[in-house]
Subunit: 382 residues, 2 copies
């Protein structure tokens, strides 16, 4: 039977929920007394518990990293090309965990969850979270799952920031950290694009100061614009040129404000689709998580000092056409790690796809990740 | 007396209005039966009428190119550093004309003008204009002013597109064309950013389908976001990094959605200021003017063939850090002109400021323009 799923798929997966009743104190000063994290796992945790891999999600993804759902076979995990039997992260060898982060909108406790203190959705009262907070709550999930030490923590973009933070916050719990399309912090330009997205959402009259759930409204106009501007920064100029160029939608110019060029249709479609499933309060918070990440900040800007606690081996990968988090930024991380005499493999992949390359099935990139995982022993004492 | 105005200023200037009652047929097919263009002039048209220079404005500027107003001395023209006595475009030698283009919002007939057919503001009924339309109406202004042939037509960004179009549409009326920070057409990425801006405006509930004047409303929320996203593309990543970096507004992180970083304050300020004085319908149309400009389109993509009619001498200047209209795009124009054996001077200026460099007082850039104008004779038969 042709299931339409590639032979290397982990197949049908089922999200699970972990409940935590011990309060978590966040970096912003607020605490969340109790919360749930939704997660998925692929493969089997071995007897020695030495083969666990944490795959951290970026801005718009969640715990559904690989496989598909029985009742929704088209809903394939965001890193399904990377994780599965015989894939670069081989689930015949590794036990992979995906988790929707705190503040998310895919099942984990977040702004659209009920605040037990008020009986209403948290909305804008949900606190601002950070990469450090996410890593702390992921560590609790690891405890819950009986994982003392991860063979690897990995992610792309914002996911890579979490992998880096894991190596710093819990050096004894991470054997390897894979940082793909990462940056040690956002540039002014990165922050600027995030702020445009936030202003589009916050100034949407349907935002209602973040309490739109109670108004039975959703700031979809703002979310659409936010996603459109974000999407531009995920693709390279070249990729857009070769995919869309100045291709007209109707063969000739219409002189109207309806989409004239294919790129306009594409962007509007992306914005619309995103606004249908993503929660605006979560989007606002995740852009803040990105803005705030800056391990060197509390060390006078000295990244090497900030990363000094890290004991993991590192694979750092950047993409030549990524103008959002350029290779130059990855090299800052590599330099800081080398300064600390850490074991670092660095590769700059010549790929046309821009920042989104970390999600795509580029042969050189995947071979590199596969080779790195081949080296990771799972029959070791931890 | 210290007037606060540099010695090279043209001093107090007064906008004037030219009325045109012969209909103009636009590229979109619509016609505007009568219209006004507001303009300013600096210097004196010589007896031979050989010293006229047209300075074309870009997205957010207008006819006020140099000098200041008697009742508003802080309102200095947008290219005041370029144009004035002893400046690169020396008004002791040249007679410079600035004009607010058709569809504008600074006095020339545009969407906020009264449509004589309805007695109400045009609003969204004002037709979509193009660079070709602007150049055609500028040519009528030249007729009105008694200028048969310009010594030079010049502009930066969208202004440069007009200068290029002048050279093609009226080869006998342009002795020199100065194209600064130009492109032969917008890339998919350029169009994408424009579309984000348009969607921000059009989806603002205060837009009222473009007839907001009648609702005594203005889509300022949308305009603010539109300007913010535009502004990011005018600056280079490096310039933003050196000007703002990750500098905090309050010295420490506040964990709030108020501006945390200086870049956020700056962008919000730019957006707010712009939304106070600029008309949304004009902004929409000007982004379309940019999108549509593509002289090669009607020549099967062959730019050299499109530019074949041009007879002017050309000065083409690009800036290394301009990622909006990169040097590569200027070189396409240079190549096409050289293919046609035109007289072209090309310079790529190593400037940190990004696209906005064309507005700034960079010594190498200004020396180059000054040297080029020194070569332009004004005592010639035309």
């Amino acid at each position: 039977m042709d299931t339409g799923i590639s032979p290397g798929s982990v197949g049908i997966v089922t999200p699970q929920t972990a409940k935590f009743s011990e309060p978590v104190r966040l970096k912003c000063g607020a605490a969340v007394d109790e919360y749930e994290l939704v997660y998925e796992t692929y493969g089997t945790l071995n007897a020695g518990r030495t083969n666990a891999v944490l795959a951290c999600h970026a801005l718009n993804a969640a715990h559904h990293v690989a496989g598909h759902y029985a009742d929704d076979p088209d809903n394939v995990g965001w890193w399904d090309n990377m994780i599965g039997p015989g894939k670069p992260v081989d689930t015949n060898r590794f036990f992979v965990v995906g988790v929707n982060n705190l503040g998310g909108c895919h099942g984990s406790t977040g702004p659209k969850s009920i605040n037990p203190k008020t009986g209403k959705p948290w909305g804008s009262d949900f606190p601002v979270v950070t990469v450090e907070d996410w890593v702390a709550t992921q560590a609790r999930l690891a405890d819950y799952l009986g994982i003392g030490r991860f063979a690897a923590v990995m992610g792309g973009s914002l996911g890579a920031m979490q992998a880096l933070q894991w190596a710093v916050s819990y050096p004894q719990r991470v054997r390897h950290a894979l940082l793909i399309a990462c940056t040690p912090n956002l540039s002014a330009q990165n922050i600027a694009f995030n702020e445009v997205a936030r202003q589009a959402i916050i100034t949407d009259p349907d935002f209602h100061g973040g309490h739109y759930y109670e108004h039975h409204a959703r700031p979809t106009r703002g979310l659409r614009v936010a996603r459109m501007v974000g999407h531009i920064t995920y693709l390279s100029d070249d990729e857009m040129a070769s995919k869309f160029g100045r291709q007209l939608k109707h063969g000739r110019i219409q002189y109207s404000f309806e989409p004239e060029f294919e790129i306009e249709s594409y962007l509007r479609h992306q914005g619309r689709r995103f606004s249908e499933y993503f929660d605006a309060n979560t989007y606002l918070r995740i852009t803040k998580v990105l803005d705030y990440f800056d391990p060197a900040f509390e060390h006078g800007g000295d990244l090497a000092r900030a990363l000094a606690p890290a004991a993991a081996g590192f694979l750092v990968i950047s993409f030549t056409t990524d103008w959002r988090f350029s290779s130059e930024r990855s090299r800052e991380i590599v330099k800081a790690l080398l300064h600390n005499r850490r074991d670092v493999t660095y590769a700059e992949i010549d790929a046309p796809h821009g920042h989104d390359a970390f999600l795509l099935d580029d042969a050189r990139y995947h071979r590199l990740v596969a080779a790195y995982f081949d080296r990771i022993g799972v029959d070791v004492a931890v």
